[in-house]
């Protein structure tokens, strides 16, 4: 070979190399344009796969997203596949995922059946060759880009591996950003749902206190989360009878809120045909028992005030004993025994009746009030509540004022920290 011929071949080789580099750069440029403008991870993933298949000359490709899950470390989230041939879809098997999680580097297999690294792995027969590259974001494996079967029965080579690695490296952060964006969107959506649920639940509570002849009444509910498991209600039974309820579903948040709306419907339904608080509780218990599992239950106080006889007939399903304060500042607890609703299928409840004298004030509450904690994690407690009720003096006969006093005392006590549990109170006072 003469000098000229040698030089010619060298230039030709150089030319081929440069052409290839330009080709690769244009693939990468094309990819960058295709994926940079989108936040739709499905679109991005498909763009990456289709360009990889074309650039490498493979029959199929996919991206397997890897999510961190302590209980199941190789759980895959998304698998997106594009095929340029009619083969049935090929998948990365668990062994390969495991290998990639440990090694986090490109993997080239041209003869799967005899590959030493995967000796006991059963390969899909249609996999002739495969090439994987890790998608890494902040040094973590977030996905695996794989192409299958070099076209025309060829083999994947080093330069294919290099190109797929560059594509993977360029795409990883974009894919990760899109995934995070989608997570954020899903989170925003659930926040919107929560807000709507909260609005619906607030509408279930009485919007304003009713006019009850000779009495003043009010209630308030604050939830620790967007929705809560406490509930109060006033239900008119006839011209002179009102049923006042306060209930607390065990737990907080959405599960408690769902049961709360169920309980409200049950109680409102039974008021139409049952005449005593204990009977209402007995029937409500059977229904709630059927719709809850053992760990969920509701404590309920029901009081039926009769404005003709000025009496209060009450019953309780495991609820905190309400306070009854008289005009002269004495206070007593209204005790009726009964198990919370929803624990056992058949429970009996007892009624007790007291007379309501002018100036008497009934304070029914949920444990969120007495369980308010201060910085030292000491509870507000029943004694402090009793003291506050007594020292409220004449304000006791104005329900809204009394509730203000108690709630503010709790906030001050807990130094306005975030509520830990729902707080609910209901006050019924006979005008002095």
């Amino acid at each position: 070979m003469n000098d000229f011929e040698l030089k010619y071949r060298q230039y030709e080789a150089e030319n081929r190399r440069l052409k290839k580099a330009v080709g690769e750069l244009s693939i990468l440029n094309d990819l960058a344009i295709a994926i940079s403008g989108s936040l739709d991870s499905e679109k991005i993933v498909r763009a990456i796969i289709s360009r990889s298949i074309r650039a490498i000359g493979a029959e199929q490709g996919d991206i397997t997203m890897v999510v961190e899950d302590k209980q199941n470390p190789t759980r895959t989230l998304v698998r997106s596949m594009i095929s340029s041939s009619n083969h049935s879809p090929l998948h990365l098997n668990q062994n390969l995922l495991g290998w990639m999680q440990i090694n986090k580097k490109p993997l080239l297999i041209n003869d799967p059946g005899t590959d030493e690294r995967f000796r006991n792995v059963k390969w899909d027969e249609s996999v002739r060759s495969l090439l994987c590259a890790p998608l890494m974001a902040k040094s973590k494996l977030t996905g695996i880009l794989t192409v299958y079967n070099k076209k025309g029965d060829g083999l994947f080579d080093e330069s294919d591996q290099r190109l797929l690695s560059i594509i993977a490296a360029q795409s990883a952060q974009v894919v990760e950003n899109a995934r995070l964006y989608q997570e954020e969107q899903a989170y925003q959506e659930s926040l919107r749902e929560m807000k709507m649920a909260s609005g619906i639940q607030k509408k279930m509570l009485p919007s304003s206190p009713p006019e009850i002849g000779g009495y003043a009444i009010d209630g308030r509910n604050l939830t620790a989360q967007s929705v809560g498991g406490d509930y109060y209600d006033y239900i008119q039974m006839d011209d002179s009878k009102w049923l006042v309820c306060l209930a607390d579903i065990s737990g907080k948040g959405m599960s408690a809120a769902l049961l709360m709306s169920n309980l409200q419907a049950i109680l409102r339904g039974h008021v139409l045909h049952l005449n005593s608080p204990s009977e209402i509780l007995k029937h409500a218990n059977i229904q709630l028992y059927r719709s809850t599992h053992a760990e969920k239950f509701a404590t309920v106080f029901l009081g039926m005030v009769n404005t003709k006889t000025n009496t209060l007939q009450f019953s309780s399903a495991g609820h905190e004993y309400p306070f009854l304060m008289s005009l002269d500042g004495r206070s007593r607890r209204l005790i009726a025994n009964g198990l919370p609703l929803g624990i056992f299928d058949m429970c009996e409840y007892e009624d007790a009746t007291i007379e309501l004298k002018p100036g008497d004030s009934l304070f029914v509450y949920s444990d969120g009030i007495t369980e308010s904690m201060n910085q030292a994690e000491v509870e507000f407690g029943e004694e402090r509540l009793a003291e506050e009720l007594v020292s409220a003096g004449a304000d006791r006969c104005e329900p809204a004022k009394l509730i203000d006093i108690i709630f503010n005392a709790c906030f001050a006590y807990s130094d306005n920290q975030q509520l830990f549990d729902d707080m609910t109170a209901l006050v019924l006072s006979r005008n002095p």
Binding site: D248, S250, G251, K252, H293, A294, E295, K296, F297, T299, G318, H319, E320, Y321, N337, G338, L339, P340, I343, F344, D367, E371, D421
Partner: protein, 114 residues
């Protein structure tokens, strides 16, 4: 909810520490109880000596455990409840459901052992 499990005189003593609040720990507790049932260890005592707070979700865990044990021919007895938890059990009337004892020895004796 953190707790230790030990055995004494044919009884399994579950001793929680701190707060019993429910939440994800309930699942672990349920699994532990199921293991005890599978091993035919059904005389369970809940030693509340080191529990200083229990809310309604915590009570829910106790009730769930109690019902599981009862359904499988076992029982959960309580002991060493402090004043606050005793009053919580009384107000919720659950003192009529749980067999409660002032101390561990008396709970063990109630199972006919010790």
């Amino acid at each position: 909810m953190k707790y230790t499990i030990s055995e004494k005189y044919n009884c399994v003593i579950i001793a929680p520490k701190g707060k019993i609040l429910g939440g994800p720990d309930a699942e672990i507790f349920r699994n532990d109880l199921q293991k005890l049932i599978d091993e035919d260890k059904k005389n369970v005592i809940f030693d509340l000596a080191k529990v200083h707070f229990m809310n309604s979700s915590g009570i829910g865990i106790l009730i769930g455990g109690f019902k599981t044990m009862r359904a499988n021919g076992g029982d959960i007895k309580l002991c060493n409840a402090d004043k606050r938890i005793t009053s919580l059990l009384m107000v919720s009337h659950l003192n009529t459901v749980f067999d409660t004892h002032p101390d561990l020895d008396s709970a063990i004796k109630a199972y006919g052992n010790g």
